[in-house]
């Protein structure tokens, strides 16, 4: 299913679509309130953008610096060129220590690499511990948002899920009760896990340390209780200095959820006594993206999710309508680089309104990149032939004024409706919920010739 088809399915339930749209718009609204309280907001964005530009321009040396410092701190550092290597490295670490159960928190990267099914196949129990993640794990779904993975679900849906899998009361939908149920269930998982995996929000080159931002504190709980802590990080997560955190931490939570800061900003530097700490640095297509000049900036992303919350298309089509793990505007500029044919419909799931670009805390020119991917997809991707031909016809017609005028006049006087080509030859799609413009008897040009020439 391409995005348009999946979106059509989603919208069929219009009341639910409205609910989804409003829930996410509310997050955007809270974000606006918080960001407008910071007078230097736009300077912060600019600074963050420049820091990321610097990081990417010297990524190799920052990575080496980070590795050196991490090693000095007694951390094991691993390099994974793709998802498969990432999964393998983690499996090997776990196997060597005889781990049976691992708790996980805050990692979109492991979703990107499909780590869970891989480990489960290999006999290791993986428990997502963040509430949203756990809910969708129980339901065997994928996250529909990178910050709010279960935003597509209503509290009644959660109640039903917990009733089915955790034995809570039937029909319960009180968020407080449901949170208590989840807490009880997860506590047991924390206590019995022999390894913990977390993501990485920021890795600091000059210290070799890293920061994980959470609201539930599960990253800390997992990492401190289990004898092994593995941190998976995309190689673009680096920042040069500890002091740069002052820029990024101020931007992240405000832009993500409208909080001044996440409840926990956990700084990890070295393993506790008797513990092991591993960092897996993952490429998985990132260096290729780095090599694409037009799309390099997509690697600035700090995964705040604001471009999803603001996107009028995402809000009305839901995260699952996108073919890639990361949905929405940022997903739509990352995914074609991973698999052009598979994700060909994503860059077209946009009106190019530009709201994503303006909301982005690191100033990624998202909608310009969408436009550029479209040019590539029309040439090399999965692009309907009918559309290709249509565009050729339009291109011909609009560059040959006589044909353009003839087609316009024919349609206006004969039907009288809009010439088909002006609605991209698809009056049916237009007409489902909208009237077709009524055509006047004469075009402006005809009026002009009569009245002015």
């Amino acid at each position: 299913m391409n995005h348009a088809q999946a979106a059509t399915q989603f919208i069929k339930d219009e009341a639910r679509t409205d609910w989804h749209d409003k829930a996410l718009w509310f997050v955007r609204y809270k974000r606006d309130i918080q960001t407008k309280k910071v007078p230097e907001w736009e300077q912060l964005r600019e600074l963050a953008s420049q820091i990321k530009a610097n990081v990417l321009s010297e990524l190799d040396s920052y990575l080496i610096q980070f590795e050196e410092n991490a090693l000095k701190n007694g951390v094991h550092v691993h390099w994974a060129k793709d998802a498969h290597e990432h999964n393998d490295i983690i499996l090997n670490i776990l196997k060597a220590k005889g781990v049976r159960k691992m708790v996980k928190s805050k990692s979109m990267l492991t979703e990107e690499c499909h780590l869970n099914p891989y480990l489960i196949q290999n006999g290791i129990d993986v428990i997502d511990t963040d509430l949203g993640e756990r809910i969708i794990q129980l339901r065997d779904e994928t996250p529909s948002h990178i910050v709010l993975p279960a935003i597509h679900l209503k509290k009644e849906d959660v109640g039903e899920t917990f009733y089915k899998y955790l034995g809570s009361e039937k029909g319960a939908s009180d968020p407080k009760y449901l949170t208590e149920v989840a807490r009880g269930h997860l506590r047991e998982q924390f206590l019995t896990a022999d390894a913990a995996l977390t993501g990485v929000n920021f890795a600091v080159a000059e210290t070799g340390g890293f920061v994980v931002c959470t609201n539930e504190g599960n990253a800390d709980l997992g990492a401190h209780l289990a004898p092994i802590h593995i941190a998976s990080m995309g190689m673009e997560k680096l920042i040069p200095r500890q002091s740069d955190l002052g820029v990024f931490l101020r931007l992240l939570a405000r832009n993500a959820t409208g909080q001044p800061i996440t409840t926990y900003s956990s700084h990890f530097l070295k393993p506790n006594n008797g513990q092991e700490m591993h960092i897996v640095i993952v490429d998985n297509g990132r260096s290729e993206q780095l090599g694409r000049e037009d799309f390099r900036k997509s690697l600035y992303c700090i995964r705040c999710g604001a471009c999803m919350n603001t996107c009028p298309v995402y809000r009305r089509s839901g995260g699952h309508s996108y073919s890639y793990t990361v949905p929405g505007p940022i997903g739509s500029i990352l995914s074609p680089g991973i698999d052009l044919k598979k994700h060909s419909s994503m860059p077209f799931a946009s009106t190019l309104c530009g709201s994503c670009t303006d909301v982005c805390p690191v100033k990624i020119d998202i909608h310009h990149q969408l436009y550029k991917w479209r040019q590539i997809i029309a040439k090399e991707g999965d692009f309907p032939l009918s559309k290709k031909i249509m565009m050729k016809v339009m291109g011909f017609m609009l560059s040959h004024p006589k044909f353009y005028r003839f087609a316009g006049k024919m349609a206006r006087t004969a039907l009288p409706i809009m010439p088909r080509f002006m609605l991209y030859n698809n009056l049916n799609a237009w007409g489902k919920e909208r009237e077709i413009p009524q055509a006047p008897k004469q075009s402006f040009r005809e009026w002009y010739l009569k009245n002015r020439e």
Binding site: V313, T351, L352, G354, S355, Y404, P419, Y424, P440
Partner: protein
């Protein structure tokens, strides 16, 4: 000052009265206006669909039509913006550069070039302003709600000169209407839903008239309004600015 009147294809074919209003408005403010008879479109539809190369011939034709004028003015930020931003698809001759530099949307032309401070127009209605994304986030004719900075809107500024006009405020000041070029048919479900939601916002807040600068957005919203039989009128901004009688 010789001004070339650019009439985008949608206006030419469906809303000729918008072009008439633009022409009269420019003349009222002392411009000598020419209308190149061989024009068609700016070429944006193909380019936004990923087929930039199919826009090249249209872009060249556009430059050919307008190269002689001191300024080129159209009542369509989206099309004007396309010429400014994307005519790098054809070789940058002096003529191409001239056209890209001297093309203006009517609102900016009146405010920034002609520097008008008052306008002789009446429009005693409650009006909702739909700022198109291309005007707002593309050409920066208004502050977008995502950005932390002083609020401004050139379209609003010029409409404020109109006697009797009363603005209604929207819940979502600058959400996209959902037209989006080929998006309107390739993603018709989302496109129509966005259109409905936009109309509902105007209706909820008491708009009698929806206005804006981009006819493609207005056409899309009008399609929704007519299908839903709503009692809201769609009037292009230049029609308001050119309206001297007490009724439109």
């Amino acid at each position: 000052m010789k001004v070339g009147l650019f009439v985008p294809c949608y206006i030419d074919q469906f809303y000729p009265q918008i072009a008439v209003a633009t022409l009269q408005l420019l003349e009222k403010h002392g411009c000598e206006v020419g209308f190149p008879l061989n024009q068609s479109c700016c070429g944006q539809p193909m380019a936004n669909s990923g087929c930039e190369s199919d826009s090249k011939a249209t872009a060249k034709l556009f430059v050919e039509n307008f190269k002689e004028f001191d300024y080129i003015v159209g009542a369509a930020p989206s099309c004007v913006g396309f010429v400014q931003e994307h005519y790098d698809i054809i070789p940058q001759t002096e003529e191409v550069k001239h056209v890209r530099e001297k093309i203006y949307d009517i609102t900016e032309f009146l405010l920034d070039i002609l520097k008008i401070e008052k306008i002789d127009a009446k429009f005693p209605y409650k009006v909702g302003l739909h700022q198109s994304c291309h005007a707002q986030r593309g050409m920066r004719m208004a502050q977008s709600s995502e950005i932390n900075g002083p609020a401004f809107s050139k379209q609003r500024q010029i409409l404020e000169m109109v006697e009797g006009l009363q603005f209604i405020e929207l819940d979502r000041t600058d959400e996209c209407c959902g037209f989006g070029g080929t998006f309107c048919v390739s993603e018709d479900a989302v496109s129509a839903k966005m259109g409905k939601d936009r109309v509902a916002d105007h209706e909820r807040n008491g708009a009698e008239v929806i206005t804006g600068g981009d006819v493609s957005c207005l056409m899309h919203l009008e399609g929704v309004i007519r299908r839903q039989n709503k009692n809201i009128k769609m009037v292009h901004l230049v029609e308001i600015l050119n309206n001297t009688s007490p009724t439109p």
